[in-house]
Amino acid sequence: MLEVRDLRAGYGAVEVLHGVDLDVGDDEIVAILGSNGAGKSTLNNTISGLFPPFGGAIRFDGEDICGAPSERIVERGVIQVPEGRRVFPNMTVRDNLLLGGYRRGRANRKRNLDGVVAVFPRLGERFTQHAGTLSGGEQQMLAIGRAMMAEPRLLILDEPSLGLSPLLVEEMFGLIRRLHEEGLSILLVEQNVMESLALANRAYVIENGLITLSGPADELLDNPDLKRSYLGL
C-alpha cells in the first residue's frame, strides 16, 4: 500500500532522514520506534507532504506521491493524526470535525460525523465547545475523530498516547486495534515500545535518520538489541 524508498528529507540545509526504506501493506499495523529526535515525525510529515523530500520515492497504491502537495495526499486517503494534535483551537468541536471532511469524505460527512460521535460520545457532549478549551485527552480524541472524518485508507498516528493517563493509553490502544480490525491500515509512531509491538504486525526502529532494525513485531519483541536500547534489559 505504502512504499517508501531511500527517502532523504529534512529542513532547509539539514538532512534528518538519510535514506529510509519502509513498507505498509494492506490491512497492516506497522510500528515505528525510535528515540527523541530520531526523525519519526519528519518521516510522517514528509509522507503527508508537509515538507518536500530531498530525494527518494514515496508511492501509495503504486502511485508516486513524493513531493505532492498535502491536499493531494489527503485526497488519496493518507491521513495523519499529528504529534501535538494540531486541532483548531479557535473553533468548535463540531467545526473541527467538519473540517476533517474538507478534502475527502465530504459526500458522507453527516454519516461520518454520527460515526465519530458514536465512537467518542465525549466529543458529542462538547460539540459547541472550542477545541482550545478541551483537555489533552479530549483533544487527542478530537484529532483522531477529525482524521476519521476523512475516511482514511492509511492512518498515520504520531505518538497518540503522548500525555494521556495510563487508563486513557489503554483505551487508545484498544481503539487502534478496533480501527485495524475494521480494515484500516495504520502507521503507528510510538514511544510505548511493548504496547506497540504487541499491537503491530511489523515494526521498524529508526535511529539518527536511518532504519537500524526491522521485522515482524513478535520477533523484534525478543531482539536483544531492542531490549537493550529501549527497555534497558
Binding site: 503527508s48 507532504g49 508537509l50 502537495p69 498535502s70 491536499e71 489527503v74 485526497e75 491521513i79 495523519q80 499529528p82 494534535r85 494540531r86 486541532v87 483548531f88 483551537p89 479557535n90 473553533m91 467545526d95 467538519l98 473540517l99 476533517g100 474538507y102 478534502r103 475527502r104 477529525r146 476523512a150
Partner: protein, 299 residues
Amino acid sequence: MDACANLTGHGCGIILASIINGTMTGAVYALVALGLTLIYGVLHIINFAHGTLLMLAMYGVFFLNQIVGVDPYMAMPVILVAAFLFGYGLQRYVIGKTSHGRDEITLLVTLGVSIVIENLALFFFTANERNIRVPYELAGIDLGVTYLLVTQMAAFGAALLITATLWMFMSASDTGRAIRAVAKERQGARLVGINVEHIFALSFGIGTACVGAAAALLAPRFAISPRIGYTFVLIAFTVVVLGGMGSFVGALVGGFIIGIAESVGGLFLGESLGQITISLIFILILLLRPSGLFGEKLR
C-alpha cells in the same frame, strides 16, 4: 435640551445629529477595517497596501462613472469582483512568491507594492482631485435633528449588509471554516487537505474586496486623489487596534466608535481638529488595553 446646552455649549439636537452622521460613516470605516483585520488575522501581516488598493478601487469607480456612465452603486459588484481578483493575484503571485513566508519581508513587499501603485496613480491619474456627481447627491430625508443624505444611508446599509454576509460566510461555510483554521493552525489545516496558499490568497482577496465595496460607497461623497487612501487606512488602523487585531466584532464596533468620535470631536474642536480625537483614542488604547476591546479572536 438645556442640560445638554449647559454641559457642552451645544444643543442636544446637534450632538444627536453628529452621532447619527458618525454612525453612518462608521459603518464604512468598519468595512475598510474588516478587510484589514481579516488579512491580519489569517496572514499575520499588516497590509500596508490596503489604503492604496482603496484608492485604486475609487479610481475604478470614478472611471466607470466617467467613461461608461455607470452609477457608483451599480459599479459596486464589478469593483468588488475586480478587487477580489486583484487581491487574490497580488497575494498568490506577488507577495506570497517574494516573501518566502517571512513576515518582515511580507511587510516590506506590501509597502513596496503600495508605493509603486501610488506613483503609477500620480503619473496616470495626476494629483488632481476628482469628484463623482450623482443626480441624487442632495436627496435625503429630514430627521428633524439632521438631514440624512441618501448616499450616507446607502453607505451605512450596504456596509452593514456586506459585514453580515461576510460574518455568515466565515461562520457557516466550508471555506470560512478553512480560513479560520488557517488563521490559527496552519499545519493542522494542511493535514485536513486545506491548500493554505489558496486560503491566504482568498483572504487577501476578500480583504481587498471589502475595500472595493467601500470604494463604491465612498466615491460619491469624497473627492478622489492618489493620496485618498491614507485618510481612510489610518482610520482603519485605529479601528483595528481599538477593536482588537483580527477581531470581526471588534472591527464593527470599533468602526462605529471611531466614526462617532470623529464626528462629535469635529463638533467641539472643528472639522480639522476632529481627527485629533481619533489619534487620542489610538494612544489611549495602546496605553490602557493594547490587545483592543475584543482581544484577538478571529470570527
